[in-house]
């Protein structure tokens, strides 16, 4: 990065922080701070919902996922449109009718205080931990780009987010996100076209897709019924639907976004905007990663994308093993490239036999490339056993820094960081809101003034920011970042969703049955996660189904509930 890139990055960051502080100037009551002015239109809600989910992790890690595993991850989002329809039809009218600040207030209306506290508690635990992961993501980029220490980067970026979030209310978050997502899209589209222009001369788009397909990167859908495979159509539609139902329907960081709408119509249209554009957006980001993979078949990539870790270990090691692996990588990559060029040449000549032979030879050469990379990873892991390598998370940023022109590098790093700040602001705002409304105002100190609760909300938001920073500092992430967030969510989300579905659809079930069913279902999910190796998406379904089934069973032996049950729709 040069001075132009840095000026774009820091200028934008300062402008965003200044905008947030300017937006929140003056005193506001609790409703204004937590739910905004209530005038937000559907387009802003739609972009805000998208920006809250599409955080820096999406921007950083998903192309790496496409690079390593291809398009299959897109199936993870197949359940999202179905879930958003259900939320639009059932959840939104109920939340708005009860005028709740948080989704968990609804559980208090429907069941009892302890069930409300349980729902809020599960949200706070999983989202608090998830917040740590999403602080970790931009820290990786900054530490790579600037050569800063990772822990110092986590603390500095985390403190910036905390300051921005405490100052910013709901309206500021939504408005800021609207412009930030525009910057993000512009950056991604620019990166896409630069990538296309960097492909070798003579390699058509169809050739690029054929090369990607030759390495099984375009296996977008898998109709296999196997539960062991991480991504299939079935796990995506069923597990993904339950994950999306939980996330968009019961996670306060999303509920807060669409409750800021001026009417049910605005909230619903904002959600439908996401139902239509979520799958294409994820497909596009994954395709970017797949095309980067194709690009690096013709251009030598680093043997290890995390160059900071690589350089540090090369400087420490004295046996020359890493240098030898690097040389072996160059040799095997050159051999693979030669075979790929022969493959493309045979394709253009219509030589089917030659094409098949070159394709097979390229696949063999690619296995040697993969083997050297695996040996390199193993050598680095052995040298630094305390850190788990997630090299795919460095793929996109390496491409940006090596291949994009200055100015555009600054724009993309800015877009990436803006995404981190905006989603983090929404998350911390939701954590602060839930702690204030569902715990502090509800249990600890009832009947205080609005001004007191606004201050409390800001204090809790800051405290959650510090918890997230602490988690990010000590997290030892064994998975690709985007998967880590989804795995964590899947462990908790199913049970929370089960609570809400019991509340909506099982009107005879009371609070005590729902409460203990949720506790038992969460214990079951923990036990299964520790013992089974099924796709994590299934835990959304298992947790939800277990909670609902146990609630019905418990209610059969408990005295009938005397509480009312707000209907899903009139």
């Amino acid at each position: 990065m040069n001075a132009l890139d840095y000026s774009i990055l820091f200028g934008s960051m300062i402008a965003i922080a200044a905008y947030a502080i300017w937006s929140t100037r003056g005193s506001r009551d609790l409703s204004g701070y937590l739910k905004g002015s209530g005038q937000t239109r559907w387009f802003t809600i739609g972009l805000s919902v998208m920006a809250t989910q599409a955080s820096a992790i999406t921007f950083l890690s998903t192309p790496g996922q496409g690079y390593e595993d291809g398009l299959g991850f897109v199936q993870n989002y197949f359940g999202a449109p179905l879930a958003l329809i259900l939320i639009s039809a059932v959840f939104v009218p109920l939340y708005r009718r009860l005028k709740v600040y948080t989704a968990y207030e609804y559980l208090g209306h429907r069941f009892d205080p302890k069930t409300r506290l349980l729902g809020a508690g599960l949200f706070l635990v999983q989202r608090g931990l998830g917040a740590g992961i999403t602080i970790y993501a931009p820290a990786i980029v900054l530490s790579t780009v600037m050569g800063w220490r990772l822990d110092a980067t986590i603390v500095c970026s985390g403190l910036l987010v905390v300051a921005y979030t405490v100052a910013g209310g709901c309206d500021a978050v939504s408005l800021t996100q609207k412009y930030q997502i525009g910057v993000i899209f512009a950056g991604m589209v620019a990166a896409f076209f630069v990538l296309l222009s960097r492909l070798p001369a003579g390699l058509t788009a169809t050739d690029a897709l054929a090369v990607a397909g030759g390495f099984h990167k375009l296996q977008a859908v898998d109709f296999s019924p196997s539960m062991d495979r991480r991504y299939t159509v079935w796990s995506g539609v069923l597990g993904g639907m339950f994950l999306a139902l939980s996330y968009f329907g019961t996670d306060q960081s999303q509920v807060q976004r669409y409750l800021s709408g001026s009417s049910v119509r605005e909230s619903r249209l904002g959600l439908m905007f996401n139902a239509v554009f979520k799958i294409p957006m994820q497909f596009f980001i994954l395709l970017l990663g797949v095309l980067i993979f194709v690009f690096y078949q013709f251009e030598r990539p680093p043997v290890y994308f995390n160059r900071a870790a690589w350089s540090a270990q090369v400087a420490r090691a004295t046996d020359g093993r890493l240098q030898a692996l690097d040389a072996a990588f160059s040799e095997s990559h050159a051999a693979e490239r030669a075979q790929l060029e022969a493959w493309v040449k045979a394709r253009h000549a219509g030589d089917l036999r030659g094409e098949a032979a070159a394709r097979e030879a390229a696949a063999v050469a690619h296995r040697r490339v993969d083997l050297v990379r695996a040996q390199t990873r193993a050598a680095l892991d052995a040298a630094s056993p305390g850190t788990k390598a997630n090299d795919s998370d460095y793929v996109f940023i390496t491409f940006i820094l090596d291949q994009l022109p200055h100015g555009l590098i600054g724009l993309l790093v800015t877009a990436f960081f803006a995404a981190a700040l905006s989603s983090k602001a929404g998350e911390l705002n939701a954590l602060g809101s839930t702690t204030t409304v569902d715990i502090y105002r509800h249990v600890v100190r009832t009947g205080a003034s609005d001004a007191h609760y606004v201050v409390a909300s800001k204090v809790f938001t800051a405290l959650w920011g510090f918890v997230a920073i602490g988690f990010a500092l000590f997290a030892n992430l064994a998975e690709n970042l985007i998967q880590a967030v989804n795995i964590l969510g899947s462990i908790f989300y199913g049970v929370v969703l089960g609570l809400f579905l019991v509340a909506f659809f099982l009107r005879r079930v009371g609070g005590t049955a729902a409460f203990w069913a949720a506790i038992a279902a969460q214990a079951l999910v923990f036990a299964l996660y520790a013992t089974l190796s099924i796709s994590y998406l299934w835990y959304n379904l298992i947790g939800c189904a277990a909670c609902m089934a146990l609630a019905v069973a418990l209610q059969a032996v408990l005295p009938p509930s005397g509480r009312g049950s707000p209907a899903p729709a009139a």
Partner: protein, 44 residues
């Protein structure tokens, strides 16, 4: 207070009902599944 139902107008020129909106969303989803299936088959 009455809960807005699926019969309420969307305020859009088309579709005017929420059922229609949900139908369009489902149609777009199915179109994507078909397109991705074709991509998988064309470049195995």
């Amino acid at each position: 207070m009455r809960v807005p139902s699926d019969d309420d107008s969307t305020g859009l020129p088309w579709p005017r009902s929420w059922r229609g909106v949900y139908g369009v969303v489902l149609g777009v989803f199915l179109a994507w599944v078909v397109l991705l299936s074709l991509l998988t088959r064309l470049f195995p």
